[in-house]
């Protein structure tokens, strides 16, 4: 009879669990309330939009059909709506608003007529929607403007050339372009009409457009100031807390002396060996993503030609960007999945039979999803299919068809099952609040929060699709992937004997508390102007300011960790095998502070975001944070595992060094040579001449901007040739020269270090 094994006690005080649970529950409680408010108080979609004499202009069905046309044709990866999407094309909310305001003013008396200008503002601001009948009445001038703009957009999207970076004749059906115009018209209506009982519009007066009376609101300025105060006060409080309680962070004196095992002495399981293939797939996807990024960027430097070749006939801008953005998530996720599979046997100390076959099955399924979804996006954007399930769903970052989205969610769940198979024996012996369980919980959160993206449906209210989409873009990526990677990095340090499990566990709980305090409600900082009520802006601004605090703090704290690492290294007889993995982690700390912290906060204040959203400053933050933090972390995890997968004589320090320097210098070049200065120029243009002007192709293809775009070329070339290719080489060596499997050595795995102070292995953190 098997007795239930005795569980190891929780290593810290219960207060840590209570604090983490309280902060997380509070965050999700507030987010739940905001979800309810988003459903009840977003801008209405009129059943009928009519002229003053009752003639139908467009219907609810037209608006929603137009939204689906917008999405499936990949226009969210060309231009944007409510500021969200891609940045080569215009923001269609702002574009429709500007064009219709000019047309209305012209019909009311001319551009120079003051009375016409005042009447235009009044007509746009007045809310003539009747909730009881679901009818919106446009003025005759507004209805006339709609007809003129339906013709304009038809001419724009049906043009048989690639002059705008779209495929020739992107949308040729006049009924489709009319529905598309209805969608743009509705978003422009929400952006210009006052909310009932309020003196600002459904979008908090976004976009800035004086022709319809849109300017910054009082709450926008107040919450910008308050979020600044929250940032400064938060940093002060945290510094005080760390001064008061010295045990916080990576502090702690390591009593034990360890010697690192040489990689050649570490025995690998069959599933760990399977990870070599995962990392090769990761590197190939990374290469594809970087090359597509180069192509996307080239459109901005030279719109109509790729060094003399008309690329847009095969790879229009929106397809290149769709693949670039999707692969950014997929290659990073592939690395994290592989790292999870690689670490789990080290955490558990054993591996069940057949695990490697399941890992190969997962890799096969992942490849099917990646290439299947890319084929669907190709077919959708080229107009070969209109299927939402197998074609292009079209939401930025959730572009893949719903079938592939479901399959990917199931694949992630299958990955959790794989981890569970390995970990369950260890979990039975552990307190449910110790590191092995946290490792499992954080893995479980990955499929759970990715699946939330299924709530964003192309035929739903656009504001609500944005609300749920950002649960994936923000909560999934910035909180739960961050949590999982923190767990993995902490476990790597524990497995290497660099820090004790107690210290690592404390850092993990601190991380959960700090990120949850700002990051959960802070999700709403993406939704300032998407049609949600004003409290989404207020709470989003206030709490997301607090997100910068842990970024600042954990960067400072990294020095303490480095000190611990040095002490252990000095005591070890064997050389530390993970120089480049650790340096990639150092670069993660740098980019976390610069890309996520400084560049993120730069665009976070509502008053800045009001003029900036959808400009190169957003790309600047996106590249520095996504590649700088998640990308570098993915490479660090890959190098950590490859160090054991590649035999000593085949390991290339030169390739690792070249990749490290080229990825970091290439990224820094991209950011400082082009994205940041261009973003500042575009912000200046937006504030001084208008948001509409700053998003027009006229501005983006101006000679000065094109020069800045060309300046990015050396950085991109260095990044791809010097950074990604050596990584591909290392990953190829991982597969080609993979260390052999040694089944006969017994079922239990040895740790990655030995204690040299008289004991054989780890005392508290290992099985």
């Amino acid at each position: 009879m098997n007795a239930e094994p005795r569980r190891r006690e929780f290593l810290l005080s219960r207060g840590w669990v209570q604090a983490a649970a309280l902060v997380t529950l509070f965050g999700f409680f507030v987010l739940g309330l905001l979800a309810y408010r988003a459903h009840t108080d977003s801008a209405p979609i009129p059943e009928r939009t009519v002229t003053p004499d009752g003639r139908s202009v467009y219907t609810r069905e037209d608006i929603l059909a137009g939204q689906e046309i917008f999405l499936r044709n990949g226009l969210m990866q060309y231009g944007s709506v409510y500021g969200h999407g891609a940045y080569l094309g215009p923001d269609y909310t702002a574009d429709y608003l500007r064009r219709s305001a000019l047309l209305v003013r012209e019909r009311l008396g001319g551009q120079e007529d003051a009375a016409a200008a005042a009447r235009t503002v009044k007509d746009f601001k007045e809310n003539r929607y009747a909730p009881d009948t679901g009818t919106l009445v446009l003025t005759a001038e507004q209805a006339g403007a709609f007809e003129a703009l339906a013709k304009h957009y038809h001419a724009t999207f049906s043009q048989p050339t690639t002059a705008m970076g779209l495929r020739p004749g992107a949308i040729t059906d006049e009924a489709d372009t009319r529905r598309l115009t209805a969608f743009f018209a509705w978003t422009a209506w929400t952006a210009s009409t006052l909310r009932p009982g309020k003196d600002y519009t459904y979008t908090n007066n976004w976009p800035p457009e004086p022709r319809v009376g849109n300017g910054p609101t009082g709450p926008m300025v107040v919450w910008s100031v308050l979020s600044l105060i929250a940032l400064l006060g938060g940093i002060g409080l945290l510094m005080a807390a760390f001064g008061r309680w010295n045990f916080l962070g990576w502090h702690g004196h390591e009593q034990r002396t360890v010697s690192f095992r040489r990689p050649s002495e570490v025995r690998l399981t069959a599933s760990q060996r399977a990870c070599a293939w995962f990392f090769l797939v990761m590197a190939v996807l990374f290469l594809m993503q970087a090359l597509l990024g180069g192509a996307t960027q080239h459109y901005r430097a030279e719109l109509a030609s790729f060094f003399g070749f008309n690329l847009a006939t095969l790879l229009p801008f929106n397809l290149a960007r769709t693949w670039h953005v999707q692969l950014a998530l997929l290659w990073v996720a592939t690395s994290y999945l592989a790292a999870g599979i690689f670490l789990a046997p080290l955490v558990a100390g054993h591996e069940p039979r057949g695990q490697h076959w399941l890992a190969y099955a997962l890799l096969g399924a992942l490849a099917v999803v990646v290439f299947g979804s890319m084929a669907g996006e190709l077919a959708g954007i080229h107009g070969w299919t209109t299927s939402v399930w197998f074609g292009n769903q079209g939401f930025e970052y959730l572009d893949l068809g719903r079938f592939w989205q479901v399959l990917l969610s199931l694949g992630l769940l299958f990955w959790v099952v794989l981890l569970w198979r390995v970990l369950r024996r260890r979990l039975r012996t552990e307190s449910a609040a110790n590191m092995p369980w946290l490792f499992f919980y954080s893995a479980l959160a990955i499929p759970a929060f990715y699946a939330v993206g299924l709530l964003a449906r192309p035929g739903s209210h656009f504001t609500l699709t944005e609300f749920w989409r950002f649960w994936v873009v923000h909560l999934w990526v910035e909180d739960f992937l961050e949590l999982f990677t923190t767990l993995m990095v902490a476990y790597i340090f524990v497995l290497l004997g660099v820090v004790s499990e107690r210290v690592a566990l404390r850092v993990i709980y601190l991380d959960i508390i700090l990120y949850s305090a700002g990051g959960v409600i802070g999700t709403m900082h993406h939704l300032y102007f998407s049609g949600t009520p004003a409290e989404h802006m207020a709470l989003g601004a206030f709490f997301s300011a607090a997100e910068v605090i842990p970024l600042t703090f954990l960067t400072v704290e990294a020095w303490s960790f480095l000190r611990l690492g040095r002490e252990q290294d000095a005591k070890s007889q064997a050389p530390f095998p993970h120089r480049w993995a650790i340096l990639f982690l150092v670069s993660v700390g740098f980019w976390n502070f610069l890309g996520a912290g400084i560049f993120g906060f730069l665009i976070n204040l509502p008053i800045v975001s009001y003029y900036e959203i959808g400009t190169a400053l957003t790309s600047n933050h996106g590249h520095a944070a996504m590649m700088g933090v998640y990308g570098m972390l993915a490479v660090a995890l890959a190098l950590f595992a490859l160090r054991y997968l590649i035999p000593e004589e085949r390991w290339s320090e030169r390739a690792a060094r070249l990749s490290f320097w080229s990825l970091n210098l290439g990224l820094a070049w991209m950011v400082f040579a082009t994205l940041f200065p261009l973003g500042v120029l575009q912000l200046h243009e937006s504030v001084s001449h208008g948001y509409h002007e700053a998003r027009q192709l006229d501005f983006l293809t101006s000679e000065r901007v094109e020069l800045l775009e060309w300046m990015r070329l050396p950085g991109d070339a260095l990044f791809i040739a010097g950074g990604v290719l050596p990584l591909v080489l290392l990953c190829w060596r991982g597969v080609r020269h993979r260390v052999p499997h040694t089944e006969k050595a017994g079922p239990e795995l040895a740790p990655l270090f030995t204690r040299v102070d008289g004991e054989a292995g780890p005392a508290e953190g290992q099985p």
Partner: protein
């Protein structure tokens, strides 16, 4: 007579890059202030590498502005900024060389 706005932008941004470069050097120096061994030496080298890139970029920017606006007043301003670039570059690389020499890296 007024300066071309592009030159003003270019000079301002070049000076900003130089300030960031010096900040990075200071961060690298702080990293190895407590002890001068790995991984802090590599951390300092990382910051130094980034700062070198920014100084190079500032120099390129000033050069590009000089090619595009070879007029009297503009060239005067660009010449002044290029002196600052040269001074920061020298200071950055001399410090790096001195640190490397003191550790016997050559």
């Amino acid at each position: 007579m007024s300066l071309h706005s592009e030159v003003l932008w270019g000079c301002g941004y070049a000076l900003f890059l130089l300030a960031v470069a010096r900040g990075l050097v200071a961060m690298g120096r702080k990293a190895r202030a407590e002890d001068d061994s790995w991984p802090r030496t590599d951390v300092a080298r990382f910051h130094h590498g980034l700062s070198t890139l920014l100084v190079l970029l500032a120099g390129l920017l000033v050069g590009a502005c000089a090619v595009r606006h070879p007029e009297g007043l503009e060239l005067g301003l660009l010449g002044g900024v290029s002196l600052v670039v040269a001074w920061v570059a020298r200071r950055t690389w001399v410090e790096r060389w001195a640190e490397a020499s003191s550790r016997g890296e050559g």
